[in-house]
Amino acid sequence: MQIFTKPNFNFIRWRWHAIALSAVVIGAGLAYMVSRGGMPLGIDFTGGSVIILKFEQPVGEDAVRSALAAMPGEKVVQQFGAASAREILVRLPQTVEREEGGLLDRDVRTATEALRQANLGNFEVIGTDVVGPIIGAQLQRKGLMATLFSILGITVYIAFRFRFSFAAGAIVATFHDILVTLVFLTWFGYDLSLNVVAALLTITGYSVNDTIVIFDRVRENFRVMRRDSLEHIVNTSVNQTLGRTVITAGTTLLSVTALYLFGGEVLEAFAFTMIVGIISGTYSTVFIAAAIAIILSRQRDQARVPAPPAAEAPGGGGRKPNNRKNRSSQA
């Protein structure tokens, strides 16, 4: 079976359209995000409390909400998991301004007490998360550092293994994927939590994976297609790896979709992030990463027209020893 037999799409021709499309999506998304006061953060980062309750009788979200009406701040009350589980998630904002001894879980206790008074039938607290302001700030810092450092680490690795313009292409594609995913998360009303950050970083790795596979093929084709233009080489490489790109995206999507459907409430946001990220990652690999690499390579090569942008003549005038490692099977 074969999805594509000798595919020959002209992806590179569409590069400006693709960049424009991405710009529109990201721009609109960011505008929407800003209009709503930034990316909604979960309690991992803002601090606050989450209570998960299991009721004996079915109970409506509104009944729970009105039982908690007396508590200050913006509360979130939503069904947790399947309706038949009769579980409700309550999220309370940060009210403990600083460390106050054993008071961190004050809101949890107040809320539980208020619900007991409200005659909603028996319930059991099956889980609580209380994050204080200090830890929230710490997690925020750590999450940001993890993201930035892993992107930096991957950039350095690609620059070392390929050439700088490729690393730039990969990084632009990665940021593209992260932004697109954040935009979709906001659109669909998900909060940024630790789990979502983990998913974002996984997408980073995944998107870079895709990009590397294509760049690897470009590197290989530089040797056998010396007389061709850079555009042609890149386009051929994208086409040659298209089967793999689609199949891998497909299988990974299969597993992540299973996670989304069956993974339960806790993993839902994680799985959603992965789904968006994988689709965006595949798109950006084909359209964005290669396009950026071409644009950057061309700019650097302009001084030396009409020399072909072959790998033996690194664009930056030999700033990087373009890593021409011999392959065992190159004979």
């Binding site: 079976m1 609580t128 209380v130 983990a198 793999r244 806790v266 799985a271």
Partner: protein
């Protein structure tokens, strides 16, 4: 079969066998994280300033005694902040005597001379650092003892945080999180002090005979009236007590629940030799007076000293049965050197954990099944090879997790699913390349060799890049993210082995048996 190939096959079988042995039976060998097993996750901060303040105050009192012994009067002592106190009103002609009295204090505090008989004393920085370190370390040990007394299996008590003053406590499978939290945090600072005056219903009343001023060596403490009912904390009376404690919780040898003469729950304690000596002396000198039993700055009861007591005593008050049990526990495990505040609390009930396991496993199996069906449909017989590689990958992953004692968490299961995805990706890369080589009219054997050789570098690059990301996730991640990074890293490593080495060997094993002209791919 060529010899090289045979050895490779044996190596693979050995790895699989060792791996299965490594994690079998999985229920025992694979540890579950808190999110799956249920339990409490706490992050506390040790308020190290408390320990410093205590030391500064003690030193100040020492200096006061030394100064008074030299006959200096009207010298005032004021605490400024946790590491600093001030002395005022040293008469010029007695300055030399004051300095002489301060010699001992100056081994630990720097003296700053102020103007006109004033001096500032600041704790030496290295001593402050040492005291903070000691406070955290002592708090850690105390919490460890308390957690052990609670009877929790496999607890985690560890220092975390950049400043080193955070303590992480994880208690798997705890049924009553609130009780655990209270016990961990209770300072349990026990002090026995001689009562100078009281009880009285207001502070002012206590000070009437003293002109409204608290004498320098005394303090006023709130307490519970002797007539209050069990559990009642409302009724407040005040005692004027001596600042210096006769004995403290450090002098205890043991503490256990008992009953007092009115059959109310109480805690009986016994003293170590040093404590008994001090206690005997103080009670002997103060027969007929009241002795305040103070817990965390609150007088629990103030019985009359009827006779000289040596090594035993009882704390009675308005306790419930549960409270005396918990109080004995914390007194046995020692007082905390400083107060603790909670920074983060997460509890997962066992039912929520079980639910997560169920959905996590369902998702993993569902994903696995979908991928298996796809591989068989798309790659036909070669798909079997990819499936074998995937299964071996998971087996190795489980074994490594059990070897590193990495706990399986919900994000860890997500990491599992992602590993499946990555593993399949490697096989897809290889298979697509083999197809290309076959299309270029190569023989099956050549195509397979070329496919694996050419893709090897790609696989290496993609895996190294992902490992870099996972390493940073692990470095900066906390809790769930770490679990995910651990599984992912291990999965990536075992994936290089299975997709490159195992898959290729399987292909070559099949080819060595028959000279195939076509490949089912």
């Amino acid at each position: 079969m060529d010899k090289n190939l045979r050895w490779r096959a044996i190596a693979i079988i050995a790895v699989v066998a060792i791996s299965i042995w490594g994690f079998y039976p999985p229920a025992e060998k694979i540890k579950l994280g808190l999110d799956l097993r249920g339990g409490v996750h706490l992050v506390l901060r040790v308020q190290t300033d408390d320990a410093l303040r205590l030391d500064t105050e003690t030193t100040m009192e020492q200096l006061r005694e030394a100064v008074e012994a030299k006959g200096l009067v009207n010298v005032t002592f004021t605490g400024v902040d946790p590491t600093r106190f001030r002395v005022d009103g040293v008469p010029q002609e007695q300055d030399a005597a004051f300095r002489e009295a301060a010699v001992e204090v100056e081994t630990r505090f720097n003296r700053e001379s102020g103007t006109a008989g004033s001096y500032g004393f600041v704790m030496k920085p290295n001593m402050a650092v040492q005291l903070r370190e000691d406070a955290v370390e002592q708090a850690l040990q105390t919490i460890e003892r308390r957690v052990n007394e609670l009877g929790v299996a496999e607890p985690v008590v560890a220092r975390t945080g950049a400043a080193g003053d955070h303590i992480l406590v994880q208690l798997p499978g705890v049924a009553n999180p609130q009780r655990a939290k209270d016990i961990i945090r209770s300072t349990a600072l026990l002090e026995l002090k001689i009562v100078e005056d009281g009880p009285a219903s207001t502070r002012e009343q206590l000070l009437q005979s003293r002109g409204g001023v608290v004498p320098g060596n005394m303090e006023i403490l709130p307490g519970i009236s002797n007539t209050a009912a069990a559990g009642d904390r409302a009724e407040t009376v005040y005692y004027l007590v001596r600042k210096v404690a006769v004995i403290t919780g450090r002098d205890l040898r043991n503490a256990k629940p008992s009953l007092d003469e009115m059959n109310r729950p109480a805690v009986s304690f016994s003293l170590n030799a040093d404590g008994a000596r001090k206690f005997g002396k103080a009670t002997g000198e103060n027969v007929g007076r009241l002795l305040a039993i103070i817990l965390d700055g609150r007088v629990q009861s103030a019985p009359v000293i009827e006779t000289r007591i040596f090594d035993e005593g009882r704390i009675s008050g308005t306790f419930t049965q549960q409270e005396v049990q918990d109080l004995s526990l914390v007194l046995r495990s020692g007082a905390l050197p400083a107060s603790l505040t909670y920074l983060e609390e997460r509890t997962v009930g066992p039912s929520l954990g079980a639910e997560s396991i169920r959905s996590g496993v369902t998702a993993a199996l569902g994903g696995l099944l979908l991928v298996v069906i796809f591989l068989l449909l798309y790659y036909k017989l070669s798909g079997l090879n990819a499936i074998a590689a995937m299964v071996i990958n998971l087996v190795v992953l489980l074994a490594m997790m059990s070897y590193f004692e990495a706990a399986m968490t919900l994000p860890g299961i997500a990491g599992f699913i992602l590993t499946i995805g990555m593993g399949v990706d490697s096989n897809v890369l290889i298979f697509e390349r083999i197809k290309e080589e076959l299309a270029a009219q190569k023989t099956v054997k050549q195509a397979i060799a070329a496919g694996f050789d050419r893709v090897f570098l790609t696989i290496l690059d993609t895996h190294v890049a992902s490992l870099i990301a996972a390493a940073f996730l692990f470095q900066f991640g906390t809790g769930p993210i770490r679990g995910f990074a651990t599984t992912l890293s291990i999965g990536l490593l075992s994936n290089v082995f299975t997709s490159v080495f195992v898959s290729r060997t399987l292909f070559e094993l099949v080819l060595s048996r028959r000279r195939a002209a076509t490949l089912s791919i």
